[in-house]
Symmetry: C2
Subunit: 130 residues, 2 copies
DNA sequence: TTTGATGCAAATGTTTTGCATGCAA
DNA sequence: TTGCATGCAAAACATTTGCATCAAA
C-alpha cells in the first residue's frame, strides 16, 4: 500500500498563497474568512484538512501559542516568534538561530534532543507604555 | 471594586498536592481522575476552575505542548521541558536557564522581550532505537 | 474512469459557564 | 451571615470526520 497521491486543488492553493502573503499568523477561522472572499462555498472542514496537509508537507508551519487555537505561518524559513502578553499578536523575530541550545539540552538528557521550539514573550511596540 | 478573596478548599489543595508530587505533567482530565480517588464527587469544572486559579496565582504552570490539550506542572522553579516525538511524554530537563537568548531577541526587536518558553523535541530514552 | 478533494453536517474532545447549594471565614 | 467554591449540566469552541458529490489526472 502506497501513500495517496496529492491532487491539485485551487482551494488549497488559495490557502497557501494567502499564508505566503501575510505576516499575521492567522488562525484557521481567519484563513477561512479570507479564502471565502475568493471561494464563497469553501467549508471550514476543507480549510482544516488543507492546513493539516500543508503542515505535514512542510509547506506551512503550525504554531501552538497556547491561546486556545492554533495559528499558521507561511514562512517556513527558520525564525522565531514573539507573542505579546497584552494584545496576543504573534510577530516574527529577525534573529540568528540559536542552535547550540540543543547541544546544551542534549548534554543533560538521557535521550536524543533534535530540535526546539522557542516563543518569546513581552510587550510589542504598540503595547509598550511610553 | 477589589479582587475577590480566595477561600480555602480541600479540592484545590488536593489538586495542588498531586501536582507537587508528580513529575508526569498530567492533563486536566488525568488530574480529575486522580483527585476523584480522594473526592469522588469532584467535578471536571471544579478541576478546570482550580487549575486556572492556581496558574494565575503562579502556584503551578500551564504547558501548551500543542497536542490538543494543556498539561500542568507543579514545579514552578525555572526549568525546561522535553517532548518526545514518539510517545508524547513531557519530561523535565535539568539544565541551566539560558537567559541570554532574551537579550539576543531584544536586540532585534522593536518592543520589550521579557521572557521565553522553550520546548525541546526528540526521542526520549525509551523511544530511542538501540 | 479512477480516486483524491470538497461541501455539508454531525460528531468529538476540551474547556467554560450558569445556577442552586455547600462551606470557609 | 456573607460570599467564594462546588457539583451538575448545558453551552461554547476548536477541530475532526462520514458521506455523497465534484473534479483532477
Amino acid at each position: 500500500m502506497t501513500a495517496a497521491a496529492t491532487k491539485y486543488s485551487r482551494q488549497r492553493e488559495c490557502i497557501k498563497e494567502y499564508l505566503r502573503s501575510t505576516r499575521e499568523h492567522p488562525t484557521a477561522d481567519t484563513i477561512y474568512m479570507k479564502v471565502r472572499e475568493v471561494y464563497p462555498n469553501i467549508s471550514l472542514g476543507t480549510v482544516y484538512r488543507n492546513l493539516a496537509l500543508l503542515t505535514e508537507q512542510g509547506e506551512i508551519i503550525k504554531l501552538s501559542c497556547g491561546d486556545g487555537c492554533d495559528r499558521f505561518d507561511g514562512n517556513t524559513a527558520p525564525h522565531y516568534h514573539f507573542i505579546c502578553r497584552q494584545c496576543g499578536r504573534v510577530i516574527d523575530l529577525d534573529m540568528e538561530p540559536i542552535e547550540h541550545i540543543n547541544t546544551i539540552a542534549n548534554a543533560h538528557f538521557n535521550g536524543r534532543v533534535d530540535g526546539n521550539i522557542t516563543y518569546f514573550y513581552g510587550l510589542c511596540r504598540e503595547c509598550v507604555p511610553d
